[in-house]
């Protein structure tokens, strides 16, 4: 099986702070990590490869330092890595991101499956997986918890709001993967050493034969017009005292706000 996994490098949310002047993330000194959900996508791909043979290719679009995330993925067991990096890709919304990633996947050849995380923890849109699947003309199952091969199709367990669904999907197909699916395996020492030295393919705008009007800022229909802090709470109250006092004060305050 030829499998691709799309991984995004994101700032570690545990360590990030917000600059309240500009409402941008303070990224300086904040370690970057593989988007946590993409670890689950990677593990699912590795398990399928271990069962059925084949290769796992990890793909990331981002600045040159996103190479680090790809090396980490190699250390966990991926076979090949491709970085899509070019100034022209900058400022992409989910449409342009999906389009660019899909060109790279096409260029890499015919895959049996393409995996994504459920969503990225910074952009939070969950739109890139279905977007790429559309450009590759593949069916997509979102929120996949398990994927197995049955003959010429996949059998997929999908998480929904009120339970699960089982789907049969023709090959090739795309999946976005939930946290509950698995836990990413440890890095092996051998892989870790190899990953340090591995050659990572880097493709830019010219390598993909992209249309300049469809990538980066110019290919993006959405524009961020304003970024601001979430509205601050007014009317905050702190209650202390004996347990009985606190309980009755809470009940009183909830009644004052007409929510009890």
């Amino acid at each position: 099986m030829k499998i691709a996994v799309c991984i995004k490098q994101v700032p570690d949310s545990d360590k990030v702070t917000i600059d309240r002047e500009t409402n941008r993330l303070n990224r300086t000194g904040v370690p970057s990590i593989i988007n946590p959900f993409d670890e689950n996508a990677l593990e699912m791909a590795l398990q399928l490869r271990d069962l059925y043979g084949g290769t796992v290719t990890v793909i990331s679009m981002g600045p040159p330092q996103a190479e680090e995330a790809l090396r980490t993925a190699l250390a966990h067991g991926a076979d090949e890595a491709v970085l899509l990096s070019d100034r022209k890709f900058g400022g992409a919304d989910t449409w342009a991101t999906s389009y660019t990633i899909s060109l790279a996947i096409r260029k890499l050849g015919d895959f049996d499956a393409v995996f994504f995380g459920k969503q990225a923890i910074d952009g939070d849109t969950a739109q890139v997986g279905p977007g790429v699947a559309n450009f590759l003309d593949m069916p997509v199952v979102t929120y996949a918890k398990s994927v197995v091969v049955e003959g010429d199709h996949f059998k997929v367990e999908k998480v929904t709001e009120d339970g699960f669904e089982i789907w049969e999907v023709a090959k090739p197909a795309a999946f976005t993967v939930v946290k509950e699916a698995n836990e990413l395996r440890m890095q092996s020492l051998r892989r870790k050493m190899a990953a340090k030295k591995a050659v990572i393919t880097v493709w830019g705008f010219d390598d993909l034969g992209a249309d300049v009007g469809l990538v980066g800022l110019s290919g993006s229909p959405t524009k961020v017009s304003k970024v601001f802090a979430p509205p601050v709470k007014t009317n905050k109250a702190t209650i202390t005292g004996t347990p009985a006092e606190m309980a009755s004060e809470l009940i009183k305050k909830l009644k004052e706000r007409n929510v009890l």
Partner: protein, 330 residues
């Protein structure tokens, strides 16, 4: 022909998703500002059964796409059919619920049509100067808000979070059904749903729609102390939530987990008992109307987002709360 605002009328097993009524209610406000006509689009075996309810919340037109293959959401059939309909009528705005269906369907359609899609909005407004839909959404786990526009592409599309807008029926509902042709012959059957397994745990099903939620964290100290959370929840008619620390410890099933890797909830009152308020937990409950925190550590970050903070030992406060609530009922 007047310009239109469309609401995707998501139905599951013949029942409209709650968010559809919220979107129509909000859509009326946008319709008044913009002068665009409010319409709904429903894909099902027979859309006739949904029309009255959609008129009741303000739809002036209901486009029905009727086909046995629309009995449940299948991404290929749904996305192709809606994209074709959008190409035919070119609405100005299309809104979807940010449900698991909406968040898979809408990005597929956006990719097909090369239009903008804003994810998981919590505010919508219309700029009469330039015709832009002002789409506001939380990003980075709710730590920043962004307003997004798609100035040069039509339609402007957004998925919108449930439980943010009120459901408000109109006084004199009236509307018109437009039966649309559907032709799925050219679409190969690449995917099919073979089984549906509903969760039996009533408390978890409630989380998304719950008016009240009581959540427990590691501060409970031991798995058996979740009883306190359940008892308080019973007193309030609330659903039960949990932090990931308690789920990982095996104190409660992951269906209860609230947060970035769990459920996103938006109840009227959210009571966090012994939860520190890690950024990943806040991501799932920050937009609740009133947040109550019970924690013995006054510096716990949960107090930053709490409307009402109780500084104390939950093992003392919660039983007292249960007692007083029960006593008040008589």
């Amino acid at each position: 022909m007047s310009k239109e605002i469309w609401v995707f009328a998501e139905q599951r097993d013949g029942v409209l998703a709650g968010v559809v009524k919220e979107l129509l209610s909000k859509g009326r406000e946008l319709s008044e500002k913009s002068g665009f006509e409010l319409c709904a689009v429903v894909l099902s075996e027979d859309g006739g059964v949904f029309c009255d309810e959609l008129y009741k919340f303000g739809a002036k037109k209901v486009y029905t796409l009727d086909n046995a293959k629309f009995s449940y959401y299948q991404n290929d059939y749904y996305s192709r059919s809606i994209a074709d309909l959008i190409k035919k009528y070119v609405p100005e705005i299309v809104l979807y619920g940010a449900t698991s269906i909406g968040r898979s369907l809408a990005p597929t359609i956006a990719a097909m049509l090369h239009v903008g899609l804003t994810a998981d909005c919590t505010q919508l407004d219309f700029d009469v100067e330039n015709g832009n839909l002002l789409q506001t959404r939380p990003a980075f786990g709710g730590n920043i808000m962004a307003t997004i526009v798609s100035p040069n592409h039509r339609p402007q599309m957004a998925t919108v979070r449930s439980n943010v807008f009120k459901k408000e029926p109109v006084d004199n509902p009236s509307g018109e059904r437009i039966v649309c042709e559907t032709n799925l012959d050219g679409i190969p059957e690449r995917m099919r749903r073979v089984e549906v397994i509903k969760e039996s745990d009533a408390n978890t099903i409630d989380l998304n729609a719950a008016q009240y939620i009581v959540s427990g964290g590691r501060g409970l100290g031991a798995p058996e102390n979740f009883k306190l959370v359940y008892d308080l929840a019973a007193e309030l008619g609330a659903a039960v939530g949990a932090s990931r620390a308690t789920v990982d410890a095996g104190w409660i099933s992951h269906h209860h987990q609230v947060g970035q890797t769990g459920k996103t909830v938006c109840p009227v009152v959210y009571i966090a008992c012994g939860i520190s308020g890690a950024i990943q937990h806040l991501a799932g409950m920050q937009s609740s109307d009133v947040i109550v925190a019970i924690n013995k550590d006054p510096s716990a970050p949960i107090f930053d987002v709490a409307d009402i903070g109780l500084i104390g030992d939950l093992h003392e406060v919660v039983p007292e709360l249960i007692r007083q609530l029960a006593a008040a009922k008589g």
